[in-house]
């Protein structure tokens, strides 16, 4: 279940695929509960990855590598590609 989605979203992609320096808008966060009971999707939203928020890929690790530095609103968070892949975005 995607928590919120834009009706027609042709350019929908996951955040981990966003190129360095490119921006987008969060479209949704896929539900994911970790083995230790942490609700990862809710946590990502609490950090600001909420549908409608503007995001930008500031820094990617070495090619193919972790982690990613992502600007969301006015904050910057480091995520691994695994978490970033839960976030679907509409690239600008």
């Amino acid at each position: 279940m995607i928590l919120s989605s834009t009706p027609v979203a042709p350019a929908l992609m996951t955040l981990d695929a966003l190129a360095e320096g490119r921006s987008g808008t969060v479209a949704g966060v896929a539900p994911m509960v970790l083995a230790d009971g942490v609700d990862l999707a809710r946590r990502l939203m609490e950090l600001g990855f909420i549908p409608g928020e503007r995001i930008r890929m500031l820094k990617r690790g070495m090619p193919g590598g972790d982690p990613l530095a992502i600007k969301v609103g006015n904050s910057t968070f480091a995520l691994r590609r695994f978490e970033a892949a839960l976030i679907s975005i509409q690239a600008v």
């Binding site: 942490v38 946590r43 950090l47 909420i50 928020e53 609103g73 006015n74 691994r80």
Partner: protein, 632 residues
């Protein structure tokens, strides 16, 4: 209304109002707390857990005395981490042993309301008296962010004040607002389900609506921090900068500390001669000079080096570099199965493994956390520094290598690196044996850079001085006196050929242990020092001070420890002892914290066993190869 609410109608003293500062991580909450309370803080732990609890007091302009609690930073009261759970429980009045709060001061970063206001809206649902401190308004206005404070107060339905925690007087508006809120009536918080019931998206919609009404802030703006990060987080430049910074720190620890160390040394020696001059020769004089001044002085002398190390850690933390270091190292740490998040606990462990092990609580995954705890004591803590510094100064010549590297600093760097390398290897083995290979989230905030603030730095360093001096004054002093007794009784028999300590209780123990430690080059004097050194590593230096002061016949304290060991140990023994201290679990407090944190005896025992095994093996190899190369 009474003039002073602390005094009731009959002159009875009412309980002081208790308030708490609450906010996102990195909102300047602790700076505001320091501003309110100054150095008058009580730092302890929350009952039953090892999360730091900071409490202080202050007096408002109207003369009211307040007690204030600095709650752990939280992104949400839904509480994912143990820190957040504490904050949630204290605010909701659910934490046993914590009296209910009279008011909450919600601290927000004015430059990042988009993130910070969500927590404010969550807390509002609890229905407690609260005031919003719009912090860092100076930075916001510099960036051209305009916030309509009155409108914000109206939208939120609570009073809003502007604060600048890093400037003198920047807290005044908050004090006045608290006075206006008095007298405080007890309000019972709404159940926490009021918070969890609302989806995050709904809260954020409210935030957006409020932001649109009160602020011109458009959200994503490129700023200086991003430009700095382009260099600092660069895949090639970033690690180089990190390595240079770390190297600078270790060089500074050695080269800056000389003058103050000489001063402390001279002071202790002066005191020793003074005592020697005014007191008649006897048992008490020996206890004072050899036992207390010799032992405690030998430890006290390392205060400057410890302060320099903490100075750098605090500066790097305050300016926002530490999470960047975690970012850079995430990949490398991922290679051995750890999260980049483990970097902060591990870095704290360079100061002391105990706060490091506690900081591991921010790691959500229990396996990652356990591995981080198990390797934390391999990071070179500041208590090893006295031991390293003593041996390096005595055995490593002070010369330049390749033009500008100080050889002593280089050896210190190698010792630190040996600990890190061993930690990574142990982590790799542990992760393999636990067979875990699941994805772990990182979710680490990279806060905006800012200049480290002198006042916060001074308060942070003052905390360390207090902790160090109270250790010197309690554990170390006690052990030194005890050691002096063990080393002085029974006295030497008639016609003794060895110094008196050889025949004492401590001497007997040392000689017994020397059988085990002879293969790695430790004589009985070192073995005596290792025993009290179990309680805390730096005690070994004090103990050596006492042991050698007592084993030199007729020698006053003026002849300090360093030249004595320089002529009584071989280089192989010195290197072997350095290797021993890289690995040996010589710290009972660490083991007891591990017991408390893991809630089992299994892990502290496992830790002690693997670290002793590593220490013995490393010392054996070091000693034997040093002998071989020295002999060949």
């Amino acid at each position: 209304m009474a003039e002073d609410d602390n005094i009731g109608a009959e002159g009875q003293v009412q309980p002081m109002p208790r308030i708490a500062l609450l906010g996102n991580p990195n909102c300047g909450k602790t700076a505001l707390f320091n501003r309110l309370t100054g150095a008058r803080q009580k730092v302890a732990n929350y009952a039953g857990v090892t999360i730091e609890r900071k409490e202080g007091g202050f007096t408002s302009p109207a003369g009211r005395h307040f007690r204030v609690l600095d709650l752990p930073g939280a992104y949400s009261l839904s509480a994912t981490t143990p820190d957040e759970a504490i904050t949630r429980d204290v605010v909701a009045g659910l934490r046993a042993g914590e009296a209910a709060l009279d008011a909450i001061v919600c601290v927000v970063d004015a430059t990042n309301l988009r993130l910070n206001l969500r927590l404010v809206l969550e807390i509002k649902r609890l229905g407690l008296p609260m005031v919003l401190a719009l912090n860092m308004v100076d930075v916001a206005s510099k960036r051209g962010i305009v916030i309509d404070t009155d409108r914000l107060a109206k939208e939120l339905g609570i009073s809003v004040v502007e604060t600048v925690a890093v400037a003198g007087g920047g807290e005044k508006s908050l004090l006045h607002a608290l006075d206006r809120m008095a007298p405080f009536r007890k309000v019972v918080a709404q159940p926490l389900s009021a918070i969890d019931a609302v989806p995050v998206e709904e809260t954020q919609q409210e935030v957006r609506r409020i932001l649109a009404a009160v602020s011109n802030d458009s959200g994503d703006t490129g700023n200086l921090s991003e430009r700095i990060d382009r260099v600092v987080l660069h895949p090639l430049l970033g690690p180089v900068i990190l390595a240079l910074l770390m190297f600078l720190v270790f060089q500074a620890v050695f080269s800056w500390a000389n003058a103050p160390m000489d001063m402390i040394m001279a002071g202790v020696e002066g005191l020793g001669s003074l005592v020697a001059a005014v007191m008649p020769d006897g048992m008490l004089r020996s206890l004072l000079i050899q036992g207390i001044l010799g032992g405690v002085g030998a430890v006290l002398v390392f205060l400057p080096q410890i302060l320099i190390l903490f100075f750098f850690i605090l500066v790097l933390e305050d300016c926002g570099y530490l999470p960047r270091a975690a970012f850079l190292l995430d990949r490398m740490m991922g290679g051995v199965g750890l999260s980049g998040r483990a970097f902060i606990p591990l870095l704290s462990s360079f100061a002391c493994a105990i706060p490091g092990i506690m900081a591991a609580r921010t790691i959500q995954n229990s396996r990652d956390r356990l591995v981080t705890i198990m390797i934390a004591p391999l990071m070179t803590c500041s208590a090893r520094l006295p031991v390293y510094a003593l041996i390096i100064a005595a055995f490593i010549p002070e010369q330049q290598v390749a033009g500008f590297f100080n050889l002593q600093g280089l050896v210190l760097f190698v010792l630190y690196f040996a600990g890190i390398f061993a930690a990574m290897a142990v982590a790799y083995v542990m992760k393999r044996s636990m067979g875990a290979n699941s994805h772990q989230p990182l979710m680490l905030e990279l806060p905006t850079y800012h200049w480290p603030h002198l006042r916060n730095l001074a308060i942070g360093l003052w905390e360390r001085v207090k902790i160090f001096l109270s250790r010197v004054g309690t554990i170390i002093l006690t052990l030194m006196v005890l050691l002096w007794f063990l080393s002085s009784f029974p006295g030497a028999p008639e016609g003794a050929t060895q110094p008196p300590i050889y025949y004492s209780l401590a001497g007997m123990l040392g000689r017994a242990l020397a059988v085990i430690f002879a293969p790695i080059g430790f004589g009985w004097e070192i073995c005596i020092a290792l025993v009290p050194g179990m309680a805390a590593r730096e005690v070994a230096v004090g103990a050596l001070g006492t042991v050698y002061a007592l084993s030199q016949t007729g020698v006053e304290l003026e002849s300090s420890l360093q030249p004595i060991i320089a002529h009584s140990w071989s280089l192989a023994t010195a290197l072997s002892l350095l290797a021993w201290y890289v690995f040996a679990p010589q710290c009972l407090s660490t083991l007891s914290v591990v017991k408390r944190e893991t809630n089992s005896w299994r892990y502290p025992l496992l830790m002690a066993a693997y670290m002793f095994a590593l220490a013995y093996a490393a010392s054996f190899v070091t000693y034997r190869s040093a002998l071989y190369f020295a002999g060949g």
